[in-house]
């Protein structure tokens, strides 16, 4: 039986206030009829203005709540750290905000912002940073003034720098406490190579050697309007807000060229099974993957669909279905294929399982990795996966803040606005053959790096019921020493 359309059904049921069942409920959800979805990707060009100093700014009014957000996204980050000064990017990000600004000393700045109930944060990450203000719209003028002080004239107070260094060392001590942290660090080292900027991590010696002058110099490189893209949304009149921004940030002239390009990685570790021993846990963490790719990528969406079906899609994906639902070997089992914007991403399938079943789950996973390349994706899997991209697109633009933030981030890394305009069409065009082709091109079973962190002696024993599943069969075994958290030198036995 077909369903009455929504309006008619509502009219009928509204007429009978007692509201008995107006229509018969269809036996299966596939028999429901849905009205078309009215959704167009917001127009990025219409949200974009150029401030007087040339800084691109995505701006949108949102009058629902009396709040304003101003985000300054900036290029530059950890990859710019001079050798021996590892940790400088993070420290600059922290003390940028905590160290006072303009006429206000560190404590005075904190007090004023907290009394205004304003959030003003700064952080510097791998290749980009953010200085962000969120506060009640009534306080926007004072907020912008404080934001400008923080951006241009941070004081980098010595006491707060000392505190940030202490906290960094304190956090450093935790580096081997959680198997998850060990796994993340070692996987990056294997995939990008230990010499890549991503893996040049802070040590006690490098942090001890960082001075206030280092922060001032690093800030100078980043805090340059040539590096900025803005995202602004909230409770304001658009024209008035643009005028305010032009009078403040827009009046700041660029000081020289933008930061240089991000270097590319050179060499991964050899394929193999890498083991890190953490004997006091009863669950092993396993990551299986290799270096990925970066945009522009003609078959990006075919690859994304391939990963989604393999393990990205959660319960609709093969990994969760086999490793979790069928076998009960893990609580979470996923794959990710991150496609980089400025440096290559990573392909990674991962799960956590009790020691005795890590090998069994790893075998299931490598089998599925091989399978995704052979073109065995069903039509149903293909449709489910493609819809999971196209039908959820509105969520990317769910609020004005998310929308301007998305567009600003895209411009920061050089992603064209056409990406979102053509998104649904490009995903829609992906065929099962495209999926196999993209998987074959970008997922390489002979290049797999398998990393296992846990109680290695127990994990290598495997399970008596599954003698066929052994890590020795998945590649040459390499035991990695745990690294000392403060020096990152191998810990001797």
């Amino acid at each position: 039986m077909r369903r009455l359309n929504g309006t008619l059904a509502a009219a009928i049921t509204l007429a009978s206030a007692a509201s008995a069942v107006a229509t018969e409920i269809p036996a299966r959800p596939e028999r429901l009829n849905f009205p078309p979805l009215n959704f167009n990707v917001p127009n990025a060009a219409a949200m974009r203005v150029k401030l007087a100093n040339g800084v691109p700014c995505y701006i949108a009014e949102d009058r629902m709540l009396p709040l304003v957000t101003v985000q300054v996204l900036l290029r530059g980050g950890q990859y710019l750290e001079p050798a021996g000064k590892e940790g400088l990017a993070e420290l600059t990000g922290t003390v940028w905000r905590t160290g006072g600004a303009g006429k206000l000393e560190a404590k005075a700045l904190d007090e004023e912002l907290d009394f205004l109930a304003a959030s003003l944060t700064a952080s510097v990450r791998g290749v980009s940073g953010t200085v962000s203000l969120n506060l009640l719209s009534k306080d926007i003028d004072r907020g912008l003034s404080l934001l400008m002080d923080v951006l241009r004239e941070p004081r980098f107070d010595e006491v707060r720098l000392a505190k940030a260094k202490e906290d960094m060392l304190s956090e450093m001590k935790r580096r081997n406490d959680e198997t998850e942290a060990i796994e993340g660090r070692e996987l990056d080292r294997l995939i990008y190579g230990t010499g890549y900027w991503l893996n040049r991590l802070a040590t006690k010696a490098s942090v001890d050697g960082i001075t206030r002058d280092d922060l001032i110099a690093f800030h100078k490189r980043l805090a340059n309007p040539a590096n900025f893209v803005l995202a602004v949304a909230g409770d304001f009149d658009r024209a008035a807000m643009i005028a305010k921004l032009n009078a403040t940030l827009g009046a700041w002239k660029a000081s020289g060229p933008a930061v240089p390009q991000v270097p590319q990685p050179s060499e991964s570790a050899k394929p193999g099974v890498y083991l890190v021993n953490k004997p006091d846990v009863n669950q092993g963490r396993v990551s299986i993957g290799h270096i990925g790719v970066k945009r522009p990528l003609a078959d990006e969406f075919a690859l994304s669909v391939a990963n989604d079906i393999l393990g990205g899609g959660g319960f609709t994906a093969w990994m969760m279905s086999r490793v979790r639902s069928d076998e009960g070997l893990a609580y979470s089992a996923y794959s990710r294929y991150s496609i980089g914007d400025v440096y290559p991403g990573v392909f990674r399938a991962f799960f956590q399982s009790k020691s005795s079943t890590c090998a069994q789950a790893a075998k299931l996973t490598t089998d599925l990795i091989a399978k995704i390349r052979t073109g065995t994706v069903t039509e149903k899997e293909l449709v489910t996966s493609k819809n999971s991209f196209t039908e959820t697109l509105p969520r990317t633009f769910e609020s004005k803040l998310k929308t301007v933030g998305r567009f600003a981030q895209d411009e920061l890394v050089g992603l064209s606005h056409d990406y979102w305009k053509n998104y649904r069409e490009r995903v829609g065009a992906v065929t099962a053959a495209d999926v196999a082709k993209a998987a074959t091109a970008h997922i390489k079973p002979d290049q797999l790096i398998i990393l296992v962190v846990g109680n290695i002696e127990e994990i290598l024993k495997g399970h008596p019921d599954h003698p066929e599943a052994r890590f020795e069969k998945l590649g040459p075994i390499v035991r990695l020493p745990l690294l000392d958290p403060m020096t990152l030198r191998p810990i001797e036995k």
């Binding site: 929504g6 509502a10 509204l14 509201s19 107006a22 409920i25 299966r28 959800p29 596939e30 429901l32 849905f34 979805l37 959704f39 629902m64 709540l65 009396p66 709040l67 905590t98 404590k107 907290d114 009394f115 109930a117 304003a118 506060l135 009640l136 719209s137 009534k138 202490e166 304190s170 956090e171 001590k173 406490d177 959680e178 198997t179 006690k204 006091d280 009863n282 669950q283 319960f315 609709t316 279905s321 639902s325 009960g328 609580y331 956590q352 399982s353 449709v383 489910t384 819809n387 999971s388 959820t392 769910e398 609020s399 004005k400 803040l401 000392d484 958290p485 403060m486 020096t487 001797e492």
Partner: protein, 598 residues
């Protein structure tokens, strides 16, 4: 039917101006079967955040079935008579056979439990080593039935259908007090949500029941057993709560999770998942009139429960004396001080919220006292007030700074809490935290999903109207209220302290020590361990003086190692109290909060 329609359909949110708290226009409807529906229209984006809550959590569990709420949450994704199977009749037959074998297995486990009590077997009764021949046979049989079940199962079909139709963030969570199920759907697919959710509430089938336990065991390993502090946090809860069922973990005690049967799950469902025990909430781009019709049609088909869910009546017995837990883990030294407080929406809750605010952030009292003035804590100490349905607590945490002792941190935390009881908070400071509460009450409304979640949480704790009333009541709190609450609750008798020390051998090696030659390192470590245990300031002073006098005579190759030792000894000496009182010189805890290395 209750009808409580606030405002018109077009005016969704009235901004009462920045001086006052936000009033969210919520349309509340109660269906004849007792299910409550809360609706907020917001037409910014063509999506709807949808969810419902069952007013049941681990607090409702008796010994023997702890963990059932959470296990059950997993079962709600296994399908219905229609979803998740290609042949329901066959499926039901297989499930019945599984239950019969499982009952036989339980008899064997009963025997094994007896043997374990008598000490005739060692370890866990579920260890493969303890398996009896009869159990082996039964296990082989039930595994055949699992395989047969797989043939008629349509894997994770609930997820498949939602995903195909553009649903995202499909998930659920279980707490001590509630179980929440949620998803975001495109606005044209709201009827799908009504279809799917009413189907799993009206016709659920708990398939893969016994194999799902393996998944839950992995979840427990992931969250509790294989994290540095998970096990101890569980132990702290068990110590903190005495009579209240909040004492057992949401994930359940392992023994109980292993033995819960499908029939226990079915009776649990009939009691707690009846529509009279549920609230649903939808927030986003839809028409509430039409949504109400869909609710009547779909949720209306779920029968009212035969019996009302039993009231949870076990009160927490008043604490008589301070309780302490000392844990050694792979973690930085830390102190947590926790007090029994009040439940959600209690008249005194709002003063507690402000107490937490007064203590938090860099301009808060804990940072100023413990980090800036006394320099005993690392990071940013924090305070958390957690009101639950029947009880609540306030906890202040601080990480011990390198070279300081947990006792110092504890004393400072307690001193700051005592100060709240001794002196009324100043006007400017009180206004600061009220300003923060007000701004945060707006920030909490930014996302449809989070608003939907708040409506469900508040309504399952007490009432959704807290969303609009809570922020106003916070603004009405006075300095006298705060002082009175602090005096009443932040007392020694009501205090619980958890101290975490870094487990021996898990600490980072001091880089200076690491740089020394391997052959002298062992010796230096031994010496250090002895020095660190010295607590008599006088004796240590003498030792350091002697060492300095010897310094010139030390061979050149041993010089770096010797200097290192002297430096560490001096550092330890500096950290000892200046003038120890007689009889109080013995300190049980080493100065750095770290166990000496063996």
């Amino acid at each position: 039917m209750t009808r409580r329609y606030l405002g018109t359909a077009l005016v969704l949110l009235l901004i009462a101006g920045t001086a006052g708290a936000q009033q969210v226009r919520v349309r509340e409807e109660v269906l004849p079967n007792g299910l409550k529906l809360l609706m907020v229209e917001r037409h910014d984006s063509p999506t709807v955040a949808c969810g419902w809550v069952a007013r049941v959590g681990s607090v409702n569990e008796a010994p023997g079935i702890t963990g059932i709420s959470h296990l059950f949450e997993h079962m709600m994704f296994k399908g219905t008579k229609t979803i998740g199977t290609s042949d329901f009749a066959k499926d039901a037959g297989i499930l019945a056979q599984q239950d019969a074998i499982r009952a036989e297995m339980e008899k064997e486990y009963t025997l094994l439990r007896e043997k374990a009590r008598r000490g005739e077997i060692s370890g866990n009764i579920y260890d493969p080593a303890n398996m009896t021949p009869r159990l082996k046979d039964l296990k082989a049989e039930i595994e055949k039935l699992f395989a047969a079940e797989k043939e008629v199962i349509v894997k994770d079909e609930l997820d498949q259908i939602y995903t195909r139709e553009g649903g995202s963030s499909l998930n659920a969570f279980t707490t001590e007090d509630q179980t929440v199920y949620f998803i975001t759907v495109p606005s044209n697919k709201l009827e799908l949500w009504f279809w799917m959710e009413s189907d799993r509430l009206a016709n659920p089938v708990f398939r893969e029941f016994y194999s799902e336990r393996d998944v839950v065991r992995e979840e427990r390993r992931l969250r509790t057993e294989s994290t540095p502090t998970g096990k101890f946090e569980e132990a702290f809860e068990a110590m903190f709560w005495e009579s209240s069922p909040y004492s057992h973990p949401v994930v359940g005690w392992p023994s109980d999770v292993e033995s819960i049967s499908r029939s226990e799950a079915e009776s649990y469902f009939a009691t707690y998942y009846a529509p009279n025990n549920l609230t649903a909430a939808i927030v986003g781009d839809f028409d509430s009139g039409k949504a109400l019709e869909l609710a009547r049609e779909y949720f209306g088909r779920i029968p009212t429960g035969k019996t009302a869910p039993p009231e949870m009546i076990t009160d927490e017995t008043p604490q008589l004396a301070e309780k302490r837990l000392l844990a050694e883990a792979d973690t930085n030294p830390e102190v947590r001080v926790r007090f029994h407080a009040v439940p959600f929406n209690h008249a005194e809750m709002f003063a507690f919220e402000l107490i937490a605010d007064l203590l938090n952030k860099r301009t808060g009292r804990l940072y100023k006292a413990l980090v800036e003035d006394q320099k005993v804590a690392a990071g940013e100490p924090s305070c958390d007030f957690r009101p639950m349905k029947y009880q609540g607590y306030l906890e202040a945490d601080a990480e011990v700074k390198d070279g300081r002792r947990p006792e110092e941190v504890e004393a400072s935390l307690v001193a700051e809490l005592d100060k709240l009881a001794k002196e009324p908070v100043g006007e400017h400071e009180l206004q600061k935290v009220k300003n923060q509460e007000l701004a945060n009450s707006f920030r909490r409304l930014q996302s449809n999903f989070y608003l939907m979640l708040q409506l469900l949480l508040y309504d399952s704790y007490d009432t959704w109207t807290f969303l609009n009333e809570g922020p106003k009541r916070v603004q009405a709190v006075t300095a006298a209220d705060i002082q009175r609450v602090a005096q009443k609750y932040l007392t020694k008798e009501n205090r619980n302290v958890a101290t975490y020390l870094r487990k021996a051998g898990s600490a980072a090696e001091d880089p200076e020590l690491a740089a020394l030659p391997a052959e002298v390192k062992g010796m230096i470590k031994q010496q250090l361990a002895q020095i660190i245990q010295m607590t008599d300031r006088g004796k240590l002073e003498q030792a350091v003086t002697r060492m300095r006098q010897m310094s010139a005579k030390v061979p050149e190759e041993m010089k770096p190692a010797f200097d290192y030792l002297v430096k560490k000894a001096q550092g330890h000496l500096d950290s000892l109290p200046a003038a120890p009182e007689k009889g109080n010189a013995e300190q049980k805890t080493p100065p750095t909060g770290e166990k000496p290395k063996a």
